[in-house]
């Protein structure tokens, strides 16, 4: 039921916007209503790295050899290049492209 007042695409974009904003504020809001005990603090301190690892591992596993090479090169570059993340990301992407170009 889309009316003449508002087109279908606009209604869909507004619905997506509201859905997205809800996810952007609800976690922060929720943690304002949970007592900040030492345990909750430790959970929140572990959370950023946990999100990062939970994102990387399945995506890289699915990507196969190019993913593993790219991640490995990025990790090595971060350790060797004094934590220069721009160079590390560029080298990681280059490694992915080269591994794929080599036919993996």
């Amino acid at each position: 039921m889309t009316t003449d007042l508002i087109s279908g695409p606009i209604a869909a974009i507004i619905a997506m916007t509201l859905a997205t904003y809800l996810t952007r504020v609800s976690g922060y809001w929720l943690m304002g209503h949970v007592p900040m005990t030492a345990r909750v603090r430790r959970i929140l301190e572990t959370l950023p790295g946990a999100i990062v690892v939970a994102t990387i591992v399945p995506i890289v596993a699915k990507a196969g050899a190019p993913g593993l090479v790219g991640i490995g090169v990025t990790f090595a570059a971060m350790l060797l290049l004094r934590r220069n993340e721009f160079a590390a990301v560029a080298l990681g992407l280059t490694a992915v492209a080269l591994t794929r170009a080599a036919g993996f």
């Binding site: 904003y21 976690g27 301190e45 950023p48 994102t55 591992v57 993340e85 990681g92």
Partner: protein, 240 residues
């Protein structure tokens, strides 16, 4: 907390230099944003969205992965049922933002809500990782989050236009490795989040649980499930 583990950091605040510094910290992510946004513009054009709708979506939704998945469902004419499906899928793909903004609470809590919530609306993977990395290295200026968010947002809105108009410029971003931009950038950031092995146990649990979840469940649930289980495991490992 009456006994902070480390010397009490400066209270969070806002500053003009912080805005610029946040934009500067987001620079390594900008090539990925350009490619992703242009690719989205091409797909949106193929799906029959007008240029206005495409730019509007980038400007107010500002969530690349969710927008791409929504394009899979998008069909003309859009029925009420399709719009509801698009909204639900958007929420599921963006569920990780719930956890990301939860992790910002210890940093931003002392600031007034009316200042924090508008900045949170700029949350993306990139905004969040720039902010949390900055905070993990001892920074407290909340403008970093806003500055990074605004820089990423501006580029996201502008670069969709050539992608829409030119189309197929980057028909195969995978060839250049750009489909793996997110995990590779996260890897670089992870090295900087390292604070000793205790927290890494929770991270390892997160990785294993996420991997298993990705085999068992469709979509992006593996991020949320892995991160929740891993961080709770980390919370139960005592400091001493």
């Amino acid at each position: 907390m009456t006994t902070p583990a480390q010397p009490r950091a400066k209270a969070p605040h806002w500053s003009w230099p912080g805005l610029l510094e946040g934009a500067r910290l987001s620079v390594p992510l900008l090539p990925g944003v350009v490619v992703f946004s242009a690719a989205f513009g091409t797909i949106a054009a193929q799906k029959g969205l007008t240029l206005f709708d495409t730019v509007l979506m980038n400007a107010i939704v500002f969530a690349g992965a969710a927008q791409l998945v929504a394009m899979e469902i998008w069909s003309a004419p859009l029925s009420f049922g399709t719009i509801v499906s698009i909204a639900v899928v958007t929420m599921v793909v963006n569920a990780r933002f719930v956890l990301m903004t939860a992790s910002l609470r210890p940093w931003l809590d002392p600031l007034p809500a009316w200042q924090v919530y508008p900045a949170l609306l700029l949350t993306t993977d990139a905004t969040w990782i720039v902010g949390i990395r900055y905070h993990a290295s001892g920074g407290t200026d909340a403008s970093i989050y806003l500055g990074a968010g605004l820089a990423l947002w501006a580029l996201w809105v502008v670069t969709v236009i050539p992608g829409y108009l030119l189309g197929a410029v980057l028909a195969d971003p995978a060839r250049l490795g750009f489909d793996l931009m997110l995990p590779i950038f996260f890897m670089a950031m992870l090295v900087q989040l390292w604070r000793g092995p205790r927290r890494a146990i929770g991270w390892a649990v997160a990785g294993i649980v996420a991997l298993v979840a990705s085999w068992l469940l469709p979509g992006w649930w593996f991020i949320v499930i892995g991160a929740v289980v891993g961080s709770i495991a980390g919370g139960f490992i005592d400091d001493n």
